[in-house]
């Protein structure tokens, strides 16, 4: 820029440049904030509206009320009758998925990279293959198979599929993270007569703790956010998870959007807290999300 204005003194053009870049940052910030917050503002806005106001041209709630949240908390609407038990289901499935993913993932990565089994690459490739299959493409056969096993409408079916799709990523991260743990520790323990299980349990797992936190959170959130399989495999009754219940609102003719949005906010808060609480632990591996959802 300074080359285009040779008359300007260096300091002055630098100041101009700074002002321009400040203005640029300001404009970009505003655009990014509007872009990011518009749908979020909308969900909060609708959740604070009364039923009549939902169908209006208001941009800002005219008479904000917590009515919709009260309905959600007291389960005072037929689609929300078992809301808290659905939250419980989501949580319960998420925790089991996280624990199983951690158990299977650590055992597998320990075998591949610490015990150095001969065909470890086959396991790595199996994980990679699973990682690149779009999850939804297996929904149809998976549904059929679970029917054969007699597991439809059983949380085990959903847990199985979520563990299947969470483990590959767990294995990658564990292998990567495990590379920083000196193998000499294993060898020393082995000379002292430790069995592979003792090495796994007493050396490998404690040193892997940060990766365990990251992957545990990742698996929990993957499961908490998952819709398609829960929708297909948990058709009704007391086993349904929250996303399935939220999806059911759309099936009716007139969805009570304020209740739906209030319930959706309550459902979104736990992962938000987990995300922002564990963000620093994640920043190394960028492990959160669940793109495959």
């Amino acid at each position: 820029m300074s080359a285009a204005n040779p008359g300007f003194s260096r300091a002055r053009s630098a100041r101009m440049g700074q002002a321009a870049s400040k203005a640029g940052v300001a404009v970009l910030s505003v655009v990014l904030l509007i872009w990011t917050l518009l749908p979020i503002y909308n969900i909060i806005r609708v959740s604070l509206q009364e039923k009549e106001e939902v169908l209006s041209t208001s941009v800002i709630p005219v008479a904000p009320s917590t009515h919709a949240f009260q309905v959600v908390f007291n389960q005072g609407f037929w689609l929300l009758k078992t809301f808290w038990s659905q939250m419980g289901n989501s949580f319960y499935i998420g925790v089991i998925v996280a624990l199983l993913t951690l158990a299977i993932g650590t055992l597998t990565s320990f075998t591949i990279s610490r015990m150095r089994i001969k065909n470890g690459w086959m396991l790595t490739h199996a994980a990679l293959l699973t990682y690149v299959i779009p999850m939804s493409f297996l929904a149809i056969p998976f549904y059929g198979i679970m029917g054969k096993y007699g597991l439809t409408n059983n949380p085990i079916a959903v847990i199985a599929v979520e563990v299947t799709f969470a483990t590959p990523y767990a294995i990658f991260i564990f292998q990567q993270y495990g590379a920083s743990i000196p193998i000499e520790l294993d060898e020393a323990a082995r000379i002292d007569g430790a069995s592979p299980w003792q090495i796994f349990y007493r050396i490998y797992l404690p040193l892997m703790a940060p990766a365990l936190v990251a992957i545990g959170t990742y698996a929990l959130l993957l499961s908490w956010n998952e819709y398609l399989y829960a929708f297909l495999l948990l058709s009704g009754g007391s086993v349904v998870t929250v996303p399935v219940a939220l999806g059911k609102f759309l099936a009716g003719d007139e969805a009570p959007w304020n209740y739906l949005m209030a319930a959706a906010i309550v459902y979104a808060i736990p992962p938000l807290i987990i995300y922002y609480a564990f963000r620093r632990k994640m920043s190394g591996g960028l492990t959160m999300g669940g793109v495959k959802g």
Binding site: T57, T108, T111, I140, T167, G178, P196, N225, V291
Partner: protein, 301 residues
């Protein structure tokens, strides 16, 4: 899901090879088998079995005849391609540019990044439901704002097929832009600062630094991200399901949602599987390309 960048190659098994001395002894081998069994069992029962069962379900030629005769199908293929083309490329292009912005130092950028990450941290469903209602032609927030500002009716976002598909793509970008931006921020942080300092000494402009330093060094990562994002977007069900619902008049389905519809709403798993399997000519080359890129070790997932 994560892609952690490592410009310096971190080939885990190779680094270990030197240490691998004796073969596993008898009891150790039993331990190894026991440790590997859970994953092998999961893989066989829940990946291999469904894959082959799915291929078998989708092996009836009659299903394909029915599929290709379905007037919804060609539109669905076009939608899928448009969704991938615009959704993935716009998203990644924006993410690459924004990643440069978020590298700036200072409290404001850090705070903005925290807000900017929200779409990623919020589960997909609440956001998509919100966007659905936000884009409602009659009572949605967007058209309410248009009315408040200009006293005119906004377009029926979800009632015209082009706008509805555009809305789906918008929702996809909104949801996943933060994730890929973070990936590119990490990628840019791995570029040695000296390169930029050297460019400064040579009097390079901002644009020159971007095209001559950043782009060449990020190309490998960018390609991997494009492939991975395309694969994931190909399997994405939620955006179409909750933004447009495939409507109006089944005009915004993509292969993933049409497959589920054919299998479950029409009750024809063979037809549903056939629908999904017609994505294989696209999926398989993408996977092969991705594997090849990953093997080059520029990027590790």
């Amino acid at each position: 899901m994560g892609v952690s960048t490592a410009v310096e190659s971190s080939d885990v098994p190779a680094a270990r090879q030197g240490l691998s001395g004796a073969r596993l002894a008898g009891s150790d081998r039993l331990w190894a088998v026991a440790f590997a069994t859970p994953y092998v069992a999961v893989f066989l029962a829940f990946v291999i079995y469904p894959v082959f069962y799915g291929l078998w379900l989708g092996s009836n030629p009659a299903s394909y005849r029915a599929l290709f005769a379905d007037p919804v199908y060609p539109r669905t293929v076009v939608n899928t391609l448009l969704y991938l083309l615009f959704g993935v490329n716009l998203k990644l292009g924006l993410a690459l540019l924004l990643s440069g912005f978020f590298l700036r130092k200072g409290l404001w950028t850090k705070t903005l990044l925290l807000v900017f990450m929200l779409p990623w941290a919020i589960p997909a469903l609440p956001s998509y439901l919100s966007i659905n209602w936000m884009l409602n032609g009659q009572w949605g927030l967007v058209n309410n704002i248009i009315w408040a500002l200009f006293q005119m009716d906004g377009p029926p976002w979800l009632d015209s097929s082009d706008l509805a598909l555009g809305s789906v793509i918008y929702a996809h970008i909104w949801k996943w832009l933060p994730f890929w931006t973070l990936i590119f921020v990490a990628g840019r942080m791995a570029i040695p600062r000296e390169l930029y300092e050297a460019a400064d000494v040579d009097g390079a402009s901002v644009r020159q630094k971007f095209t001559q330093v950043t782009l060449p060094l990020m190309a490998g990562l960018y390609l991997v991200c494009t492939l991975l994002s395309t694969i994931w977007a190909l399997g994405d069900f939620n955006a179409v399901r909750f933004i447009s619902g495939g409507g109006p008049a089944l005009s915004t389905h993509v292969l993933a949602t049409l497959g589920i519809r054919n299998a479950f709403e029409l009750g024809d798993p063979g037809l549903g599987m056939a629908t999904v399997l017609t994505a294989l000519p696209l999926l398989i080359p993408l996977v092969i390309l991705l594997m090849r890129q990953l093997r080059r070790n520029e990027v590790t997932i």
